[in-house]
Amino acid sequence: MRDFETMDPKEIIARRVSLEIRPKSLVNLGIGIPTLVSDHLDESLGVFFQAENGVVGMGHRPPEGMTDRHLTDAGGTFVSAVPGASIIDSAFSFGLIRGGHLDLTVLGGLQVDAKGHLANWMIPGKFVPGMGGAMDLVTGAKKVIVAMIHSAKGTSKIVPECTLPVTSQRCVDLIVTELAVMQPREDGLHLLETGPGVTVEQVVAATDAELVIGDDVPEMDLSRTG
């Protein structure tokens, strides 16, 4: 049994998110922590990973020395392709994303608010990375999960209301950090699970948004498989 309390925070998030992925689904993973999610999935699940640049069925990094510039993920990192993979152009790729064909997208975030609005494409006056495919992904995917570290420089990224420009008017379905699993619902932001070795009080102290807390909030069960 692994000691999850000493696990790297990013790995905790990636592993917890991996439990949300259904067999045979079509999934888009964003850059950063979301990319780590595929390492926690069993290949027998038959999940196809899609990238904005038109790969349906991305595989792990090719063997050393066998990388090729014609096959990368959306971050420009060399990847391979799984058996059954296909290639589509960018218009078709965003048709999959926007047209309701993508089962799940996992993205990073700068802020998520109590209603589930995500902000992840610009910090006015400071840094403007641009939205890339994020606006289409959040608007079009059947399910949206935000996977991110709970705080940045000691400041909660879970806020009452986004102060940064939002990515979409569509609310995300689940927020997974190293401290908590949260779900925006009609009556507020529900705390569903706490991180390994983390108490409800610690989550509340680290979170600017108000949380709806049930009687018995379980700890993430990272030992199970999806």
Binding site: A51, E52, N53, G54, V55, D68, R69, H70, L71, T72, A74, G75, G76, A81, I87, I88, D89, S90, A91, S93, F94, I97, R98, F127, V128, P129, G130, M131, G132, G133, A134, M135, D136, T139, G140, P165, V166, T167, S168, Q169
Partner: protein, 217 residues
């Protein structure tokens, strides 16, 4: 039948101030030879329509670094610090477009459509000042077509009539942009006899390609 032109001839065709569509995704599927040649030629005031700003030395990067670009229209500029600097300094105008909207606007231009209706961007900064349209009870943003004077295309293979085939994720924006430039210039990795690219494998019919750049020997 095409007669391939030299890199020099291709560069001379593109005047200062042109609107240029450049394919590629983080520099993958970008015609690097003509980007380099344009940067060295000292072109000025180009409007570059390209998905992302890639890095300083890849994709459209060399053109921005060389000061050839007045305006960038695309979806992502997060990993090119030169673009960030020039934008903050007011030397480069940046118009950000969500990637799915970006490619669909280009497709609309190439397919003879008057624009697209998309839910992407509703309720965000992107929607400011734009018309919304209601269809069957759903609201959409009206986004206009996006066309260019030139489309610069990177192909894996090109045959003597200009039929193009692409490879894996280097396909990306190439087949779409090849429809939306007034003048389409292809930079293939190889030129092959007619028949080597089977009809089913042709992604851009040669009738769309105006010029093919000769491979360096």
């Amino acid at each position: 039948m095409h007669q391939a032109i030299s890199m020099q001839e291709a560069v001379e065709m593109i005047p200062d101030g042109a609107r240029v569509m450049l394919s590629g995704f983080m520099g993958v599927g970008t015609p690097d030879g003509i980007v380099r040649a344009l940067a060295e030629s000292g072109k000025r005031d180009l409007t570059m329509i390209v998905n992302d700003a890639a890095r300083p030395h890849t994709g459209v990067g060399p053109l921005v670094s060389a000061g050839c670009v007045k305006k960038f229209i695309g979806s992502h500029i997060g990993v090119n610090p030169v673009v960030q600097e020039k934008m903050q300094a007011g030397e480069l105008e940046v118009e950000l477009v969500p990637q799915g909207t970006f490619v669909e606007r280009i497709r609309a231009a190439g397919m003879g459509l008057g624009g697209i209706l998309t839910p992407t961007g509703l309720g965000t900064l992107i929607a400011e000042g734009k018309q919304t349209v209601e269809v069957e009870g759903k609201t959409y943003l009206l986004e206009p077509p996006l066309r260019a004077d030139f489309a610069l295309i990177a192909a894996r293979s090109c045959d003597y009539v200009g039929n193009l085939a692409y490879m894996l994720s280097a396909t990306n924006f190439n087949p779409i942009m090849a429809l939306a430039g007034d003048v389409v210039i292809a930079e293939p990795e190889e030129i092959v006899p007619i028949g080597v690219i089977p009809p089913d494998a042709v992604k851009t019919p040669g009738v769309l390609v105006d010029h093919v750049i000769k491979r360096a020997m």
